[in-house]
Amino acid sequence: MTALTVPARPDEEDADLLPVPWRRMAWVTWRQHRFALGGVAVLLGALALYLWLGGLALHHAYAAAAACHPASSPGCENLVIDFNGGYGQTADNIATALGIVPALIGAFVGAPVLARELETGTFRYAWTLGVGRRRWTLAKVVPVAVAVAVAAGVFSLLFSWYFQPFFADGARIPLDPKLFDVRGVAFAAWTLAAFAIGALAGLLIRRVVPAIAATLAAYAGLALAAALYLQEHYARPLLTSGLNVPGSAWTLSQWWTRGGVTLSQSALRQVFNAAAMQIAPVLHSKAQKLQLVTATIPQYLIRHGYTQWTSYQPGGRFWPFQWIEGGWLLALSALLIAATVWLVGRRAT
C-alpha cells in the first residue's frame, strides 16, 4: 500500500513552513550508518593498535641504532642496515596496505550510503517525509564524510609518528608517492574523495555491489593517475648538473650528456663499463661496487667531459605539495557531493 498525506491543519500551518532541524536528522544518520561507522572505527582502531605497538619497538630499535658510537664503525653501520632492512620492510608493507584503506572506506561506507536505500526502495518513504530529499541527502552524506575524513586524518598522524625514523636516517623520502599519499593531509583528503566517489556511484548505479565495484575502479584510476602523472607537476622540478642532489629529494629522472648530446641507455652502459675497467677492474665487495657506481665513476666521467643532469623535487616541498593535493581533492569531493545532492533532487523517483 501507499499512504500519502496532505500535511497541515489550519491551526498549525506555521509549523509546516519551518524546515526539519538538522540535529533531528543527525539522529537518523547515526541510526542508519552506525554499523558502517563502527566498522571504520574497528578497522582503523585495530590498525592503530598494531601501529602503536609496532611503533614502540621500531622507535626503540632506532634509538639503539642512533645512539651507537662511533657511528662509522662497522658494528654501528650494521645496526643501521639491519634496522632499515628488517623494520623498513614491514613499514613499507604497512604503507602499501594503508594505500588501499581510503578505497575500502569509499567502497564499503561511501557506496552503500545512498545505494542501499535506492536498492531496497526505502528511499520512497524517506523522500516523501517532511525533511525533503535534498536535505535528507545532505544530512546523510556530509556527517559521514566528515567522520571518515577526520578518522583518517587522526590515523595518518599516528602513521607519521611510526614512520618518522626512516625519514630521520634518510632511508626513505617523504615525497615518495607511496608514502606521500598516506601522510599529512593527503590521507584524509583521499579518504574523503573515495567516500564522495562512492556516494555518487551509489546514486547513479542504485545497487550496492555494482556501486562498490565502480567505486574501487574509479578510485584506483584516480590514485594511480595522481601518483604517476600529477604529483611530480605540482611545482616545476629543479634541475641540477652537479652530483650533490640532496638526500631527501625525490628524483624524477637522471640522464648524461656530452657536448650537449644526451647519451642513450646502451651508450651510457658502455661508458660506465669502460670507466669501471679503467678504475677498478676487480671488485672485492658489494659496498665497493656501490661506491664505484654512485660516486667514483660519475666523478671520473665528469672529469672527462660528461655531465650528469638530475631533475628532482626537493624534500622541502613536502608540505606545499600536501596542501596542493589536499586542496584539489577537497574541491573534487565538494563537487562530487554537490552533484550527488543536486541529482537526488532532480531524479523522478
Binding site: M1, A3, V6, R9, R24, V28
Partner: protein, 153 residues
Amino acid sequence: MSAADLLHLTGNLTRRFDQPYARARLGELGIPLRRKAGKLSGGQQAQLALTLALARRPRLPVLDEPAAMLDPIARHDFMATVLAAAAADGVSVLLSSHVLTELERVASYLILLSRGRVRLAGAVGDLLAAHHRDSLEELALNYLRENPAEVAK
C-alpha cells in the same frame, strides 16, 4: 528497523509527528515495538504504515489500496480501524480500492473511475437511491455495462 525505530525516524524527518499517539495506537493494536518491521504480519505492517501516516496529523490522508495485501479478515479489521481513527481525529480519508463491497461499508461519498475518467460521483446513499440498486457492486457493474460506449472511449 524495528517499529520503534521507524516511529523515531519518521518523527525526526517530519515537521510534526505525534509520538505518544503513534505509540498508544500500536500498543492498542498489540503490535510489538521492538519487532523488526519486516517480521510483522501483513496486517500489522499495514497498521504500522497507517499509524505512521496518521501520527503526522494529516488533514486529508490519501490511502491508495491500503488493504490490497491483506487476507479478508485482516482487511475487515483494518478498514474498521481506519474508520475509527478517522472518526476520532475528525478527518476525511480519501481511499482507493477495487473491492466495492469493502467500500460500501466505509465510504460515504463515491467517485467511480474507469479508464482514467470519472463515471459516477456522489454520496453513496444518493447514488443507490437514484439508480435503484441495493449495493455498490451492483450499481457499478450495471452502470459500466449499460454505458459501454462511454467505457470504450
